[in-house]
Structure formats: C-alpha cells, structure tokens
Amino acid sequence: MKSRTIKVDYLARVEGEGKLYVKIKDNTVADVRFSVFEPPRFFEALLRGRRFTEAPDITSRICGICPVAYQMSSSQAMESVCGVTVSGPLRDLRRLIYCGEWIESHALHIYMLHAPDFLGYEDAITMAKDHPDVVTQGLKLKKIGNDLMVLLGGREIHPVNPRVGGFYKVPTKEDILRFVEPLEWALEASLETVRFTSTLPFPEFERDYEFVSLRHPDEYPITEGRVVSNKGIDISTDQFLDTFEEIHVPHSTSLQAKVKERDDYLAGPMARYCNNFDRLPEVAQKAAKEAGLSEVCTNPFKSIIVRSVETVFACHEALRIIKAYKAPDKPYVEVPPKAGVGHGCTEAPRGLLYHRYEIDDAGIIKDARIIPPTSQNQKAMEVDLRQFVQKNLDLTDDKLTWQCEQVIRNYDPCISCSCHFLKLDIKRD
C-alpha cells in the first residue's frame, strides 16, 4: 500500500491564516481538509449592545481587503429594519465606492496574488524583475481603485465616510470629475488585463458548480438584488437563512455554508458572471468573448480572466456614475431606529456577503449574523481540491502542492473574514 501526504501549513498569498491537508491512499484521495486556524474574533457577539449606527464601522474591521462590502451590507440591513430606502445620487455614490473596492481588490488578486502562480513566481516582487511592465500596470490600476475609496471614504482601508443612511460628506462634481482621466486609463488597462490573463496557461479542470449571486433587474449586481442560482434558487435576501445553512466542522474556526437542499455552492466573480452575463456592458461582454470565455465559465483557474472582465465592468460603471453625478442636497437620509429584523446582501469582490440584525426601539443591536463569502466557498474549495488531486495524481509532490494552493487561491479567499478560514497538507498512503 502506497501512501502520500501533501500539506501546506501556512498558505501564502491569501488574506488570513489557513492550511491544506490531502491524504492519498492507493492512488485514491482519502481525505481532504481545508482548515482555517485564524483565531476567532467573535464579531456577532461583540456587536450585541452596540448602536445600530456603529455596525458599519465595527464590521468593516472584519476584513481589511473588503471593508466597503461590510459597510454596505450592514447599512442596507439597518435601513431595511428601519424602513428606509437610500436612492438617487447617494445610492450611486455607494455603488461608486464599491467599484473602487472591486478595482482595488481585483487588481491586487490578479496581479499580486494569482498571476505569479501561472507564471511560476513565488510573488509579484520577483515577477516584477522579469515582467516590470505587467506589475507596474497592476499597481497603477490597484491605486486608482484605492484613490476612489479615498475620495469617497477618506481612506482605503476602513473608510470613515459611509454611514447608515448614506455618507457623512459627499464630494462635489468638481472633486469627482478629476477621476474621469485616471478611470479612462484604468478601463484601457483592465481591457489589457483581460488580454494578458487570457494568455496564461490553465490546468484542465471543469466542475458543474451551483453558482450563487445577486441578480438585479437592470444592473450587474453590486449593491442589491435577489439571491439567485443557476440551479433554481431565486429568493429575496430575507429568505437567505431558509435556503442556506452553516455547519461548524472540527477542523476549522470558519463555519462552512451549503445549500440546505443540496450541497456546496460557489459565490464570487464566476457566479456573478454566469448569472448576469446579460447585465454586463457591451465593452465587458466583448472583452470576455475575445478572451475566449463563453457566457458560463466552469474552470475555476480561469476565474482570473473573469475577475479581469469584472474590473472592466467596474471601471466602466464608475465612469458612468461620475459623468451622471449631481451632488445631493443632503449627504444622508435620516434613519430613525425602529425595532425589528433586517437583512443586507451585497457583492463583496470575492462573493456574496450576508448580514442580519435584530435591533430594539432605541436602536440597540440585540442579535447579529454575518455570513462572509469565504465561508460560503469553503466547501466548494474542498470539493475542488478532492477532484483536482484525484485527476492529477501523476504530478510530483512539489508540483501538486503548488497547484493545490492555486486551487484555493482561485477563490481569492479572505480568511480573516470567514473566521467566523489556509494550511496544505497532502498525505499519500
């Protein structure tokens, strides 16, 4: 009997702490564990007793890479409890700061974290020695996303300006118009990014995913929509917990989500793209087609191309909003507290982010529930790993280990978030 163990004790180029363990016995994958050893921080518990207006500031601290997602999902949930809708230019500004986060986060993942895998570098800094123009372009694109967050949020990490009801201060038309030129450059650079990523070498691997994302009647989803899947889910956000459940497994400090009636599912760029191709602007659809993508992409390694297509969308959308912007009279809508339960669902760069709060008449949080994208994807990652290793048993341990890491990095996982998630351990028996 021949046994092999492949393990990675501290997965690199992901946000947070996780490890992988794969055990192979007689040429069959016997065990796959993707564990999160990120220490738990108990956000849902510490939110109890805080004011409902504090949720955007506190929950943004769950994740340094997608703070805006936390601010938007929590604000939306609080506004839904209190029966307030934020519309017009304030809604557009929320979408605009979110576009900034998508551009920053996607550029970071594409150029700094994911591309080095395909080109065989340990990191982007080493890659920069051979491909200086590629890395410089990535950094410049990333910076434009960050600059947009600075404009609307005050700073790129944990912005201070968004609040329940809108913003503390809104930009003038003049402030915002300064972004037209950099964003026009960014749109071209993101089209170049689609061309660049489509030439990378991709392992052959396809899977029949259940893609879960938001869907909106007339927009590519970022800030709102119904929760849908390609396998029949079509629910409003308040039905989220009826449709999905979270399971606490012993090997992880992150809870794993699944579709109650079925099994694992995939959230994030590939899901949004599959469920909403028809909502992409023509420039993004055309770029995808030219890169050889069909309207559905089922090779998770190609998520890097999908992420690039979404960057094209985000730049295009940001330009659209900026050109149409008219500063609102007031930077926020008053949100008087009202006892009740509210739900918030928005699309973080790495996938659907669900919040649920119960507050009392005075606006004090009684209960909080947060389901981040990485805990939703954790089960899909394990299934990907199992199937990928089974198909690639002839690879050497070194090569297999690296590609297993890539299987996880395909998801742009955000482990700090999921800890409520990476180390690789391949064991061959």
């Binding site: 992901v14 738990p40 108990f42 500031d57 340990e122 800094i125 920069a128 790129e156 944990h158 503390y168």
Partner: protein
C-alpha cells in the same frame, strides 16, 4: 557598488483583519523601491517564499487570543532584532478585546454551534503584554506613510519622525472647524493620538479613536464635556470602548461611566 547585505523584513499575523499588513501592499508607488532596499523575507500574504530568520525588522499585526499564539510571539521575538507592532490590535488588543469586558464563553456560544472545537483565551491582549516591543505604529488601520517613514528611518539609522500629539492638533493644523464646538458632535480628537490626518472631523464626524490614546490624555475632562453635550453615559462607554478599548486610559474612562 559592492553588494551590501540587505536587511530582512518579516510580517507576522495574529488575531486581526489583515488591513495593516495590506497597507504595505497598498504602497503602490513605494513598494518596488522598498523591495530594492530590503529583503521581504517572510510575508505570507504576498509571497510563498520564506527566508529563514533572524530578521532585522519584524512587523507584528494582531492581538494575542489563543494559547498557541501566546507561545508563538516569544519565538518571533527571539528571531527579531527590532519588533514593531502595527495597528490597534497589536498595540491595544483591537476590537476583539471587547471580550475582555464580558465572559468569553458567552461569546463562543453566540457564534459557534460546537464551542468545544474552539480554543481561545479569556482576553485579547496587546503584543507588549507578552514581549518587549521596540516601536509601535498606531491606527485602525495604520497610516501607510508612517510605515514607509519607519522603514526608511530604520534603513538610514535615524529616529522615525512620527508625532505623538493629538488628532485635535492635526485638526487645528488642517484648519478644520471644530465639530464639537460648532455642531455639538462628540469627538475623541482631544485624547486620541495623531496619524490619520484628522480624517473624521474633515468629513463632518467626530473622531472615534482609531489611533488610541495619546500620551497623558485627559479623558476625564473630555467625558465631562460629553456629559454637557447630553451624551448618555452608555454612549460615553461605547465611545471609549472602540478599537482601542483595552488601552488603559480608554479602558478606565469607559469603566468609570458604566452603571
């Protein structure tokens, strides 16, 4: 020029959101220049490659919340010439230190179905409670320019030019109108250390203390002003009990207002 051995930089993570270490990757204009002067020897968020210690500079993010981490920080200290804590989690215990004011077992059972799988300490504590810290960079998140200044000063053998005055002073230097005086908005600016560039008051909101208490802050006097603005005592508790809740001056002031 003869090859000079480049100093080695390591980045370590404890309980945190990764935002402070992301600040290094957010130095889009400076990152490649920094990488020319130092060897990024251990930075898992950015690289698979790990160069063995000892390290000249260790940047430590996050707070100590597990028995394993309480051991790990001592190993890191032994490998590091200069250990720098980055951000509110590492310097004060972070927002997760709110557990220090409650029973952690209640917290575990609120979040996890099987509390027995979770190993955690009763308190979230700053790095300096465990090992000697050479320098601290405050903030939730840190200011990336302070990080670049610290690295650059260290490379040049000089003291980093990082202030310890209050956000209130930054506000005056910026020429902001005082949000507390003009609009009656409670603001932690007078007792909070500088570093953000008086961000919140510049956006018409009160400071909520991301950079933690300044040296010798008069929190008692500020709290008395909050009372005059009719801020209820449980809101005063919440204000001091934010991302730097466990930093002593803020902790004591919040406890003084607890019913």
């Amino acid at each position: 020029m003869a090859a000079v051995k480049k100093p080695k930089l390591a980045v370590w993570k404890f309980a945190s959101c990764d935002g402070c270490q992301l600040s290094l990757l957010d130095c889009e204009d400076e990152l490649l220049a920094i990488a020319k002067e130092i060897t990024i020897a251990n930075f898992p968020e950015a690289s698979r490659a790990i160069v063995k210690g000892p390290y000249d500079i260790s940047l430590v993010e996050g707070s100590i919340t597990t028995p394993h981490d309480a051991e790990r920080i001592h190993k890191i200290r032994r490998m590091s010439k200069c250990l720098v804590t980055i951000g509110a989690c590492a310097t004060a215990g972070g927002i997760q230190a709110l557990r220090n004011f409650a029973d952690v077992n209640d917290f575990v059972s609120i979040v996890y179905a099987n509390p027995a799988y979770i190993e955690t300490l009763n308190k979230s504590t700053p790095i300096a409670d465990h090992v000697f810290v050479d320098f601290e960079l405050r903030g939730c998140p840190i200011n990336k320019y302070q990080l670049v200044e610290f690295i650059s000063a260290t490379l040049n053998g000089r003291k980093p030019n990082i202030g310890t005055h209050s956000v209130c002073m930054e506000c005056k230097m910026k020429g902001n109108v005082c949000v507390m005086v003009s609009s009656g908005i409670p603001c932690l600016g007078p007792v909070t250390q500088m570093g953000c560039g008086a961000l919140c008051p510049s956006y018409n909101r009160g400071c909520f203390g991301c950079f933690g208490p300044m040296e010798s802050p008069n929190t008692k006097s500020l709290a008395a002003w909050f009372e005059r603005l009719q801020v209820p005592s449980d809101d005063i508790v919440r204000m001091f009990r934010g991302f730097n809740a466990y930093a002593e001056p803020f902790r004591k002031e919040s406890e003084a207002h607890e019913k």
